[in-house]
């Protein structure tokens, strides 16, 4: 029998957990969304679409910014271990999003 990932079988539970994610201002997160879908290999995945403040997306601090956010999400949600979903992260700055207007980033 095919194994249904917990994140797909129990979407309400997953959303409840995700709604509990609160980024304090020092994370530099302006907006974030998630989608659950298969990745290119057909494996179940959760995608995080994160808009950062321009200051947090500055190249000199970007590594620290994104590492902190990824660590925070993985520690709080544990997408792979608890929900059988491979986590993927996409970032952009607020000014980039204003030009690109990509709906997936909200």
């Amino acid at each position: 029998m095919a194994h249904l990932p917990r994140g797909v079988a129990q979407p309400a539970e997953l959303i409840k957990r995700l709604n509990g994610l609160v980024f304090t201002p020092e994370y530099g997160v302006v907006k974030w969304r998630h989608t659950v879908d298969d990745d290119w290999s057909g494996d179940p995945a959760i995608f995080f679409w994160i808009t950062l403040s321009d200051a947090a997306a500055d190249r000199n601090v970007l590594s620290r910014t994104t590492r902190r956010i990824k660590d925070f999400i993985i520690k709080q949600i544990d997408p792979a271990g608890e929900w059988d979903l491979i986590p993927y992260f996409h970032f952009r700055s607020q000014s980039e999003q204003e030009k690109l207007k990509d709906k997936v980033f909200g």
Partner: protein
């Protein structure tokens, strides 16, 4: 300079083209691809170092399968870290390598096949940093048993690679060959 370093520098170069103006999508897409292949080629070259016959190493490195490497990396990335402090540090670095491999491969596929997605420099720089961090992490653990086991995953990559090697080399040399590697790393091939 090693090929993976050249690929990373190329990724940075492409991502910076047209600064401070808006980047071209083609440059960002090729930068993502270069960042992924920096890590991919580093790992396959590292695995090939275990092959005793130097002139066959590049052929060996070509036998790695992107999909199987992703499967193996996903398993490592989702594994809980060991509690033993001696194993925890290298396992943390290996997990970083595995997570980056999965993330970069997915990004590479998106960059190459999904023309609807608009890349930003921030997105691409994060991926390049991911590749840089993974390469640094790898350099710190490359000689450990767990890193070597990751290169030649016991259940997925090995069987296929060994089968291909046997077929390839038998067809090259009908008199057969001795399947051998250094004693230190021999367990990786069993």
């Amino acid at each position: 300079m090693a090929y993976h370093d050249d690929l990373l520098r190329h990724a940075v170069f492409l991502s910076e083209l047209d600064l401070p103006e808006a980047p071209k999508q083609v440059d960002l897409r090729r930068a993502v691809s270069a960042a992924y292949y920096a890590l991919f080629h580093l790992l396959t070259v590292e695995a090939a170092q275990n092959w005793r016959r130097e002139r066959q190493r590049s052929r060996f490195a070509r036998m790695f399968d992107h999909g199987r490497m992703k499967t193996c990396s996903s398993k490592v990335a989702s594994r809980p870290l060991p509690r033993d402090p001696a194993e925890n540090a290298p396992a943390t670095l290996l997990k970083l390598v595995a997570e980056s491999f999965v993330n970069l491969q997915h990004a590479r596929h998106t960059a190459d096949y999904d023309n609807a997605y608009a890349w930003s420099r921030t997105d691409v720089w994060d991926l390049i940093l991911d590749a840089e961090d993974a390469i640094k992490a790898w350099m710190g653990i490359r000689e450990t048993t767990m890193a070597q086991d990751y290169l030649i995953d016991g259940r997925s990559i090995t069987i296929r690679v060994v089968h291909q090697i046997l077929c390839t080399l038998r067809s090259v040399n009908s008199s057969g060959f001795i399947f051998s590697c250094s004693r230190r790393r021999q367990s990786s091939f069993t």
